[in-house]
């Protein structure tokens, strides 16, 4: 049994996260797997997407050839607008984030600590080019922070840790984590397993986590 055939794939992780986004939410999606969440919001829910470069009411990726270099998202990819969208400048856009008007943000992660600390912007290596973008604003300002990430690093090391070794994006900010192996809440007592991927056991997840796991029901 190898890590790549057990657990949820990227789309399944995004789909699982999408289930937890309430109808009518204002949502900001990070770059990478989080972007896929938009494709999996359950039918019947209407969710409004915010992109921090100045657009509320972001629509799907345009058809090939319909790209406009002046209509992009925070990942600098071409997007579209829904009817009822609005453009605004950067200070107004971040007022939405920092003033706690965005309901849910879904981000990627390098490490998440038991206390909900998030590291997702820098390895802290001396020759790394530090680049933070809007990540620190999002975790400080958005009401609910979800993280979608592989449970382990490509080396098989843990990403869910007792305390982060990488430079932090924010302290005590993560609410819930969606990995390929499980859905976990950050609680005062530690990571609490809400749900396991098909065929994945609690012990299997615990072995790959550098912090104490709590079962969903004691």
């Amino acid at each position: 049994m190898t890590a790549d055939i057990i657990g949820w794939n990227r789309d399944e992780m995004a789909k699982r996260a999408a289930l937890d986004i309430p109808d009518g939410s204002y949502v900001n999606l990070g770059i990478g797997i989080p972007e896929k969440v938009a494709q999996h919001v359950p039918e019947g829910r209407e969710v409004i997407y915010h992109t921090e470069n100045g657009l509320l009411g972001m629509g799907p990726v345009p058809a090939s050839g319909g790209e406009d270099p002046e209509l992009i998202n925070a990942g600098k990819k071409a997007v579209t607008t829904i009817p009822g969208a609005a453009f605004f400048h950067h200070a107004d856009s971040f007022a939405m984030i920092r003033g706690q008007h965005i309901d849910v943000c879904v981000l990627g992660a390098m490490q998440i600590s038991e206390q909900g600390d998030l590291a997702n912007w820098s390895t802290g290596e001396p020759d790394a080019i530090p680049a933070v973008g809007g990540a620190m604003d999002l975790v400080a300002g958005v009401k609910t922070i979800y993280v979608i990430t592989q449970h382990c690093t490509t080396d098989g090391g843990p990403k869910l840790v007792e305390s982060c070794t990488y430079p932090l994006t924010g302290k005590n900010v993560v609410d819930r984590i969606y990995t390929d192996l499980a859905v976990l809440d950050v609680t005062p007592a530690g990571f609490k397993v809400l749900e396991l991927a098909p065929g994945v056991s609690f012990d299997y997840v615990q072995q790959r986590t550098a912090g104490k796991l709590l079962p969903a029901k004691g």
Partner: protein, 254 residues
């Protein structure tokens, strides 16, 4: 979207789903949960932009002991002046509580029945924006060396003195707009815009009286002034009363 308060439905795979729709049926329903002791920001500079139907609904609703944030204190015996005259306001936060034809506030103030926090107009605007933008405090040169700076923290930056002012938030904002869509995207009319966009940002619950509902998308995304994220409830008031007319007619509310 029929513009009269009906809930828009969308048909997906054989099912009808309710779409986001922030419309409510009446001013009374829109203000129903404003509680005793709430802080309420009310848009308007004088009568321009004053959401008079929402204020009247708030008078009917009966909430007491309110802290009200508005640039002024109303005039005559309608709108904000009537809210004050009916004894609902414990404290005003404003820049200019003295207007031609404004008798209600001065009398209550002189008899010690209402509190006043006097704030320079620009500081008031900046405090409201700060409240909406997650800024708990900032520094400004306005009021330095004056009685309004007394008791406030002062600090020197690059050769000049500044006072520290706090961001201002509210439980509710009552504002008036020209057009709204079901998401709460708003545009305003001329200088009736004034405090409305920043109050919408600073309130936990923003309640709008719009002269006209339009279909989502009818307001060009380039010209939206208040994006819907800052709006919670919209009630259509197609032909709002004009405060100065009511005052000229000597009207009282209720």
């Amino acid at each position: 979207m029929d513009g009269d308060g009906g809930s828009p439905l969308i048909w997906i795979n054989g099912w009808f789903f309710k779409m986001i729709d922030k419309q409510v049926d009446s001013p009374a329903k829109a203000v129903a949960d404003i509680f005793d002791g709430a802080t309420v920001m009310i848009g308007g500079f004088g009568e321009a932009g004053s959401p008079i139907e929402l204020i009247h609904a708030l008078i009917d609703q009966g909430a007491q002991n309110l802290t009200v944030v508005n640039n002024n204190t109303g005039s005559g015996h309608v709108g904000l002046a009537a809210l004050i005259e009916n004894g609902r306001v414990a404290k005003m936060i404003c820049s200019y509580p003295r207007t031609v034809g404004s008798k209600v506030f001065p009398e209550l103030y002189r008899s010690g029945k209402i509190d006043l926090e006097l704030v320079p107009q620009g500081t008031l605007a900046e405090r409201i924006r700060a409240g909406g933008a997650g800024v708990p405090a900032f520094y400004t040169a306005t009021s330095v060396g004056t009685p309004l700076a007394e008791g406030k923290e002062q600090r020197h930056f690059a050769g000049r003195d500044y006072v520290m002012e706090y961001g201002l938030k509210a439980d509710f904002a009552l504002i008036k707009s020209k057009q709204a869509d079901r998401y709460g995207n708003l545009i305003y009319n001329k200088t009736a815009r004034n405090f409305a966009p920043i109050m919408a940002m600073a309130a936990e619950t923003t309640i709008v009286q719009a002269e006209r509902m339009v279909t989502a998308g009818e307001i060009d995304p380039e010209i939206v002034v208040t994006p819907g994220i800052f709006v919670d409830r919209i009630v259509t008031v197609a032909n709002p009363e004009q405060e100065s007319k009511l005052v000229a007619e000597g009207r009282f509310y209720p």
